[in-house]
Subunit: 412 residues, 2 copies
Amino acid sequence: MTTGTGSETGRTTGFPARPAAGRMTRAVTGPPAGAPVAGALGGTPGQPPTIYDVARAAGVSIASVSRVLNGRRNPREETRDRVLQAVAELGFVPDGAARALSVRLKEVVGVVVRRPQPSRSDGVFADEDENLQFPDMINRGMEVVAQHYGYDLLIRSVDLHESDGRRIFALARKSDGLILHDQVISIEQLTRLGRQVPVVTLAFVPTPTTVNVRSDNEAGMRELIRHLAVDHGYGSIGYLSGHLDSPDNLARSATIRAEAEAAGVQFLNGPPWQGDYSAAGGARVMERLLASGAELPRAIVCANDQTAIGVLYALGQRRIAIPGQVAVAGFDDIPVARHLNPRLTSVRQPIQDLGATAFETLHALISPAAGEQDLRGRDIVLPTRLNRRESCGCGPGHPDSLVLAGTEGLLP
Amino acid sequence: MTTGTGSETGRTTGFPARPAAGRMTRAVTGPPAGAPVAGALGGTPGQPPTIYDVARAAGVSIASVSRVLNGRRNPREETRDRVLQAVAELGFVPDGAARALSVRLKEVVGVVVRRPQPSRSDGVFADEDENLQFPDMINRGMEVVAQHYGYDLLIRSVDLHESDGRRIFALARKSDGLILHDQVISIEQLTRLGRQVPVVTLAFVPTPTTVNVRSDNEAGMRELIRHLAVDHGYGSIGYLSGHLDSPDNLARSATIRAEAEAAGVQFLNGPPWQGDYSAAGGARVMERLLASGAELPRAIVCANDQTAIGVLYALGQRRIAIPGQVAVAGFDDIPVARHLNPRLTSVRQPIQDLGATAFETLHALISPAAGEQDLRGRDIVLPTRLNRRESCGCGPGHPDSLVLAGTEGLLP
DNA sequence: GCGCTTCTGGTAAGCGCTTACCCCGACTCC
DNA sequence: GGAGTCGGGGTAAGCGCTTACCAGAAGCGC
């Protein structure tokens, strides 16, 4: 840690050491003994004021303070004014933990994301943190609606397939419910977890006790394959897959196979085409494929955009023209897709909506509106849409296409 | 919200309505009356088990349970075993709020990020959420070390220069301390806040009660300008600025002016060059500039990479060659920078380190190690480094440069 | 004028933990 | 053998809130 040009004012006011918990400060009932009036008022640092401080300042009981603040009953106007004034003067905000304990609601939901694998790759993709974009955008979607409900997100990342789920169960006790990103837990653990606390998963599967939210892989993939096979007339398509056991990957893979078959197009898949959702993984697969001398398909569909980035890179290295010799498409349509060269054709997932929907759903589980039906066991599916750009062979003249990022400046 | 193909098992087990708080369940002291043994054991949904359940199951007092779990004293082996077994059977995890209230530590830190402005732009940059990348990467850096200390991050976004800071003060009571991203609070509010709770800011300024963490704008900018002016010999440089009142922007702007002067290079700046850290803003400024017929400088330095993306776009639209006619450079070195065309020269900020350092610092404020000095008032500065790529005029042959993303596939 | 309802404010219990304090039995040491 | 120590377990206070319950005051009808 580098310490810089700090204005070394050498002030001595430390945060006062807090007394250990336990009986010592406050009489059994009634306001705290002689605690100094804390708060934002004076310049004095100190503990934030408590409801007792407010009550004392306003000359009322703590019950009245609480009632005014929470709009219970109908306090006399004078009482209300005195309380509000004291609150303003002291800058009182109720403590979250105490409130949570009392009302049995924390107004916090836990979000578990998968920690990016420790990068096994050097070189261009070394700190491949763009990976973060996808889950982070989902989280952003959650955050917006969470805020609307007065909730906050408690974020924790875990390793891929966290073995015992201990960290996840622990997070559950800091929150009112959990949203789990893909591949952070096993089905068994999930079912167990769902019995103890409201849980919504993303891109996984519903269990009897939990709800799943995902996007429509089938429809999106179908549209993409038909575009490649029919509109462009490509005769062979390879699928560079993601993690084998990811439900998204399974669905995408199954759909592409079925559609390719239906269109009478050759389909390449299997172990040599096994990626891992990362750009480095995509590049690695392509390099092996190229090194093996195998003939490439006319089009390559990638499990996600991240993978496609790696593929574009590897093909570029070999001076293979995209889409001239090989067309490439991705899935997700993350923002970078538009800045790639060539611009990446991709199936758009409603990324922020996924997050927003996940939160809405969880909230419905946590405090169900009157008469609302129990959602547990449901699989909520959001629509997808194909975004055609250049990498699939759609020219810059294509109606869906836009000129971008200085490309023409370079072209002769 | 679209409800899809759910497996409509029509289960009836709702989360049992929790009793309202208040006296009703438990005898004054001792275990709760006849609460069913809850937990992960049976298939029964229900409240998670409490320490009373564990104590009863193990045939000991709650104090013993707590002591075993927290490693206090030195429980007899038999006691320990019985407690641990009961804990395992019931799947007990202590409630966060209760624990927080008791030990006066929540093990949560609040993180406040600036919500992206409601997009005022249509077209290419419409959902310009890549903006998120920068703060999100910082957060990721925090999260990693937070986890190390057993903390979690409570994320909240606020509008630019949140007027009264109410949301921020509220967040403070849900956490043990705050990390504030840039431009979310005024100095006055910050000072006030710092008196009530430990606060670390990012890319802002230290106050007597708070610590600031930032990266070395001056050194990075100096290196960049010297590279442009001396190595490349460009005779004029424009600075497309960020938010006027952002300390980062001020520092970058001041340095570039000083360095340009020192190198005897013409420096362009001022209102027509006023951006807002966004790609859309960068594009807009360039378009106005071009429309006005003003002569462009030989090199344009952007307040951040985001802005540079917009500039590349606008120049590309006009078929202005980069770096041939105008060289462009950014600041931050976000991952996309490598995928742009041409690849963007940029000053690298240690993004994840910023987050990690911010957390470490905050942790030191929250629970200072014995003998540790008070950091408040400090300005912690992390080093930066210039990454030379093509957009400044360094050719693909440059040692720092790497061929990328299928570019050559397109070039004749 | 008196019992009744209505309205407000105060009192204290309880949310689920941690831990100070007390107590008791087993040892130790003269 | 009795006082002193020590180790371990139980009891209950207290963390800062919300709210059930109670009590007194005020309003009301007959």
